[in-house]
């Protein structure tokens, strides 16, 4: 079903008797079942005020269209949403609704926040067919409950987005990346922690064990970037690592590969994404039984490639965080579930919210229902 207006969506939801697979561009590999309900046709930027740093768009608007509009004003989506197509082998056009529904954030999440932190307001149609709005288009808003955060990352399970309002940010004058060579996992993650614990405003912090490269991105005015690179070099001399600097162009393309997990594109095996306390990262990766991995978010985000059907989640055991199965064949996905099992209390609240927002249980049924 291709939806082209909010009214049509309301009718479709009210008339639905079975499961609906809510879809934007369909690029993010969400294992939803039922009749496809595509909102790709709800497309367009309805408001953009560069001086107020706000943009309002319909959910089917391609991310590329939004980025192009922002680039004209020298602004950007600062949370740096990942493009999943390379990793998942999907085709189609990533949409802003999909970005928000999956709370997709890239390397800059550690300094500026996640997609959910930039989502200012939503309109959505709930499972009864009611149109609900929450938040707005201003940056500070505590009027009532924050359903905006609830909708961000809810993967379409609570309602179908029909409009998103976002905060955008200026694009800095330039960027550069300091690369430390030859550190192992523990040394690399520890160097990243020292850099992030400094006043020098690092906006990317990744470690690639295969290449033994530890990477720190600095953005801002040219003189400021040069100054902070120098300060970070001095701060990290005690690591004993050789250092290298990537200039603007090289830095930009390098962080694109981190963002889109280029290291695992075109390689076979299951892909897992672990969110953890940064300093726990190396130990978690080491006991995961995965074949390869690398760290973003200073160690707090680990991308792992494992043998097909290998249960990374069980192998890791209990930890502060969660493991999401991002890519696997249908039977493995069904066996492990995409999402990490939740504690009994959280699972009960989650089920309660779904019953309230989607009483018929039609939106992406079965997804995110992984109780411990």
């Amino acid at each position: 079903m291709d939806i082209t207006s909010e009214d049509a969506l309301v009718d479709a939801v009210k008339g639905a008797s079975g499961a609906l697979a809510v879809r934007g561009g369909g690029t993010r590999g969400v294992p939803a079942v039922g009749d496809v309900l595509s909102v790709a046709g709800l497309n367009g930027i309805s408001l953009y005020e560069p001086g107020a740093l706000t943009l309002v768009a319909q959910p089917g608007t391609p991310v590329a269209d939004i980025e192009a509009a922002l680039a004209q004003e020298n602004q950007r989506l600062a949370f740096e949403p990942m493009d999943h197509r390379g990793l998942l082998g999907t085709t189609g056009t990533p949409t802003i609704g999909g970005v928000m529904a999956a709370n997709v954030s890239g390397p800059r999440r550690i300094s500026v926040g996640a997609a959910r932190d930039f989502l200012l307001g939503v309109r959505f149609v709930d499972g009864r067919g009611a149109i609900v709005k929450n938040g707005g288009r201003v940056m500070k808003n505590v009027t009532g409950y924050d359903l905006v955060k609830l909708m961000a990352g809810s993967f379409g399970t609570l309602g179908v987005l029909t409009e998103v309002s976002m905060k955008v940010l200026p694009r800095p004058e330039t960027q550069a990346t300091l690369v430390l060579l030859g550190l192992d996992d523990v040394g690399g993650v520890s160097a990243l922690a020292r850099a992030l614990g400094s006043p020098f405003e690092v906006t990317g912090a990744a470690h690639d064990p295969a290449a033994q490269k530890t990477m720190l991105r600095i953005e801002g005015f040219e003189t400021s970037v040069a100054y902070r690179l120098g300060q970070l070099r001095a701060l990290l001399t005690t690591t004993g690592a050789e250092m290298d600097v990537l200039d603007e162009k090289a830095s930009e393309s390098m962080w694109m590969t981190v963002r889109d997990v280029a290291a695992f594109q075109g390689q076979s095996g299951d892909i897992w994404r672990v969110s953890c306390k940064p300093s726990d990262g190396p130990a978690i990766a080491a006991r995961s039984g995965a074949e390869a991995w690398f760290y973003d978010w200073a160690g707090g985000l680990i991308w792992l490639r494992a043998a097909p059907g290998h249960d990374v989640r069980t192998q890791i055991g209990t930890f502060d965080g969660h493991a999401t199965l991002v890519r696997a064949d249908a039977s493995t996905m069904a066996q492990f579930g995409m999402f990490h099992p939740e504690t009994a209390g959280v699972a009960r609240l989650t089920a309660g919210l779904r019953a309230q927002f989607d009483p018929k249980g039609i939106f992406n049924a079965g997804l995110m229902e992984n109780a411990a």
């Binding site: 005020e49 560069p50 001086g51 107020a52 740093l53 709370n103 954030s105 999440r109 996640a114 959910r116 932190d117 009611a130 609900v132 929450n134 707005g136 288009r137 940056m139 500070k140 808003n141 505590v142 009027t143 009532g144 409950y145 924050d146 359903l147 905006v148 955060k149 609830l150 961000a152 990352g153 809810s154 609570l158 200026p170 800095p172 520890s190 922690a193 614990g197 801002g220 005015f221 003189t223 400021s224 100054y227 969110s275 306390k277 940064p278 300093s279 978010w297 502060d320 965080g321 969660h322 999401t324 990490h340 504690t343 209390g345 609240l349 309660g352 309230q356 927002f357 995110m368 992984n370």
Partner: protein, 482 residues
């Protein structure tokens, strides 16, 4: 302000409730004498007062759980309280309620510099969170102006902001995890040392829920290393509209200041008379602060000054030293006190799109004439969060009501131009009955459905946030069940 009629059946059970609470708490943690419960009769919205039936001061999560379980079994409403600094009446009691204060729970549980987090009990004050980490060069970013007194519990309940949130965000952007007790006593952890939710973002939902979903007893907060330095520039204009255009140009130019504060003429005049900060007498004053090394600050301040010069400022003063910075901030930081010297005031908190600033200030001026009440505007201009201060005389019959009416009109105007009722203070009781202005029936229903899940009996802070007529049927379910 209408509050629900206290339930006599609950008040008749006071002795039994007190006895049960005493069984799980130390003696000095259960306050029920009418002379002593008066200490909890209001928060910083002092126009409204009502002593609670009982006040309790637990000192552990387990005690909080015991208290809530007992109140749940007895059907007694519970109003959670941090430090009682809410300007919206978020901690205002009802005569049939138990006030649950978390002030005795103020320990630092864990400081983790490697992961840049601190775990605290939520009775700890905002400023003392920074106090616990500043000797190592770190700080906790959200800085509401009550930060000396306000508790993290209240910051989470109201999703508090502050002057520096343009760069660092508000509470929800700096909150990593909580331990929360539900009304039935169940203890649940949400989030932790990791950055994103594994399922639904319940942490984001809890933050800003005004103590209606549970009582947060522990919080994991993000801490940051302090910047090398910070200095402001002060810019005066003889026209509000020009000042607004300047703010917009600064933002568009790619400089991201840590704060952009705005004051209008009535506010400038009041603060000059009070604090003598040496401000120019003009229509609009901007204080723009940037951070970094000395050279980085100079560079950014020069860029901002260049933009400002294009708008013909009547004053342009770049701070070169800590003393000059302090002088520039002196007036702004004294603004509320200065207005308070003139008369009683009500502080509003609506947010507007920055582009509507000149229109909104003009309309507020017209309303001020209409109501015959003076108003001064202090404003976090970077993010559109206004703080109009309406002056009134609390001793003059009818003045408070007139002031409230004026305030409501201003907030309606904020919504009309695309903004909202409250940017950082919360709804509480103060803006409760205006929620219809911003939200339609289905919008409010979706929010109340969340409370139905977390607190099905509607016992936690039940008379806040939602207009009483909108929540009546849900609260009645509770009464019927008794």
């Amino acid at each position: 302000m209408e509050m629900p009629v206290p339930n006599p059946a609950i008040m008749a059970c006071k002795a039994r409730v007190v006895e049960r609470l005493q069984a799980v708490l130390p003696d000095d943690a259960v306050i029920f004498d009418e002379r002593e419960t008066r200490a909890y009769e209001c928060d910083a919205l002092t126009a409204y007062k009502c002593p609670p039936m009982v006040a309790v001061l637990p000192s552990s999560t387990q005690q909080v759980s015991d208290v809530l379980r007992i109140c749940h079994e007895e059907g007694v409403p519970v109003v959670p309280r941090g430090s009682g600094t809410s300007l919206a009446g978020g901690a205002l009691p009802t005569a049939d309620c138990v006030i649950l204060g978390v002030a005795r729970m103020n320990d630092v549980i864990e400081t983790d510099y490697e992961n840049r987090i601190i775990r605290v009990q939520t009775g700890r004050t905002n400023l003392s969170v920074t106090g616990a980490v500043e000797e190592n060069g770190f700080f906790y970013a959200p800085d509401p102006s009550s930060q000396l007194a306000c508790a993290i519990a209240g910051n989470i309940a109201m999703n508090s902001g502050g002057a520096h949130c343009l760069k660092y965000g508000v509470t929800t952007n700096n909150l990593m995890g909580v331990k929360m007790v539900l009304m039935d006593g169940e203890i649940i952890d949400f989030g932790g040392g990791h950055l994103d939710a594994g399922g639904l973002d319940l942490l984001g939902l809890i933050c800003g829920s005004e103590g209606q979903l549970g009582v947060v007893t522990e919080a994991t907060l993000r801490i940051l290393h302090k910047p090398e330095g910070a200095r402001p520039v002060l810019i005066g204009f003889d026209d509000n509209e020009v000042a607004g255009a300047c703010v917009s140009d600064i933002i568009k130019a790619g400089v991201l200041p840590v704060a952009i504060e705005f004051m209008d003429r009535p506010c400038i005049e009041a603060t000059e008379a009070f604090a003598k900060a040496g401000y120019p007498m003009c229509e609009a004053l901007l204080i723009v602060e940037v951070e970094g090394s000395d050279a980085e600050i100079d560079h950014q301040l020069e860029l901002i000054s260049e933009i400002a010069r294009r708008h013909n400022p009547v004053e342009l003063r770049q701070s070169k030293s800590a003393e000059e910075s302090a002088k520039i901030w002196l007036g702004r930081k004294s603004a509320f006190g200065a207005m308070g010297q003139i008369n009683d005031y009500m502080c509003l908190d609506g947010t507007i799109p920055v582009s509507s600033l000149p229109h909104v200030l003009k309309r507020i001026g017209e309303m001020s004439d209409h109501y015959g009440l003076k108003v001064g505007n202090v404003f976090h201009a970077g993010d559109g969060n206004m703080h109009p201060l309406i002056l009134f005389d609390a001793n003059k019959p009818g003045d408070l009501e007139l002031c409230e009416e004026f305030g409501a009109e201003v907030l309606k105007l904020c919504v009309e131009v695309g903004g909202c009722l409250t940017g950082e203070h919360g709804v509480g009781i103060e803006k409760r009955d205006l929620m219809h202005v911003q939200y339609a029936h289905d919008d409010l229903d979706a929010q109340m459905a969340v409370k139905d899940v977390f607190d099905p009996a509607w016992l936690l802070n039940p008379a806040k946030v939602f207009p009483l007529d909108a929540s009546e049927s849900r609260r009645a379910v509770k009464l019927a069940a008794e």
